[in-house]
Amino acid sequence: MTTPARQERFQTLLDEHKKILYKVCNSYCRSRGDREDLAQEIIVQLWRSFESFDARCRFSTWMYRIALNVAISFYRRESTRTRLVLSETEQILNVADERATTSPEVDALYEFIGGLDVLSKALMLLYLDGHSYLEIADVLGISESNVATKISRMKQTMRREVNPPAQV
């Protein structure tokens, strides 16, 4: 495949899966500037790795692996990063109607995800996105039963926090 054709194919796939980019950036960064930096970093890494992408694999799983790996290292590198300063028109991802896509529930959801550690964030994102335990295990590199246990623990913790047992 020639470079322009490959670039076109990459852009089409990226466009189809741009929501992954949006969700990962929103879960790992609070400020708009950081989200934009992270989005660019992920896209560049995706493009660099695209040559070795095996078309037999699911693009979303492959994209999630790269996006999460970049996001986790980006998060840890926070103090040594060189910030990019971009104007509103220089954003890779634009939400046409911001008010329509956000709600107190969605904000609370991102708030909850934001409070998790970097690895649990990744697990939570994949779970909420409807991936099977096997797919989550495949992305994160842990066993399927471990994924099931962690999800079950998260459910229990949430229930306990909302309905704490009455003190005797």
Binding site: Q7, I151, K155, R159
Partner: protein, 223 residues
């Protein structure tokens, strides 16, 4: 207030549908800059390491020729050999980092890549500490070689040599004290801040803590 994960999943799916309608990707920006000009942090790091490696290689070659020219003068030859060994060690350490960085494939499983990244971070910090520690030891030989090479001066004064060695050694506790005291107050320079945190041991502790968290995450839990 959302009460459980299943409810959260519904909210997530609802937002997903809204995003389908309103999320747009700026293809012009993607084509114009992101895909063609921007480098990833890892690429930038590898590029800097490449430049660093080249500089160390040139130093090794230059000191090698200095040794050859002054092999008859014991003090100069010994000093230059010590300095050359230091430069060779630094070159090897830089090459090791380049190899480790190039082995990282971001499309691999998250836990594996994060472990590789943390190990690379630990390697970088140890090399930085080793370089600084070694630098204080080769400080005096470096002065002897530099005085001869750039000023044509022969340094044979024993007191001067001892004073320089002691000065080099005194820099170790001073550096540790300064990094611990002012590590978080180094102004806007992220590189200086990182160096200070490397010296104080803060970054090494953070890297080891991340590895422990990773191991805990991978550990099979009982339901």
């Amino acid at each position: 207030m959302m009460i459980d994960l299943d409810e959260m999943k519904q909210t997530w799916a609802h937002q997903d549908r809204k995003l389908d309608e309103s999320l747009r990707m700026n293809r012009q920006l993607l084509n114009g800059t992101v895909l063609n000009k921007t480098r990833t942090a890892m690429q930038r790091m590898t590029l800097w390491l490449g430049i660093e490696g080249f500089v160390w290689f040139m130093i090794v070659v230059w000191i090698g020729s200095f040794v050859y020219e002054h092999i008859g003068v014991r003090l100069l030859a010994v000093s230059a050999i010590a300095l050359d060994l230091y430069a060779i060690a630094m070159l090897a350490a830089t090459l090791r980092q380049i190899v480790a960085a190039r082995q990282i494939d971001y499309a691999d499983i998250v836990s594996g890549i994060q472990r590789q990244l943390e190990n690379l971070r630990i390697l970088r910090i140890r090399i930085t500490l080793g370089a600084l520690l070694g630098g204080t030891v080769v400080w005096a030989p470096a002065m002897i070689v530099a005085c001869k090479a750039f000023l044509g001066l022969d340094v044979n004064n024993t007191t001067w040599l001892w004073a320089n060695n002691l000065f080099g050694l005194a820099l170790i506790p001073l550096g540790l004290w300064l990094s611990k005291k002012y590590g978080d107050h180094t102004g806007g320079s992220p590189y200086l801040r990182r160096l200070m945190k490397d010296i104080s041991g803060h970054n090494l502790n953070v890297a080891f803590a991340s590895l422990t968290k990773l191991a805990d995450f991978e550990k099979e839990e009982r339901r």
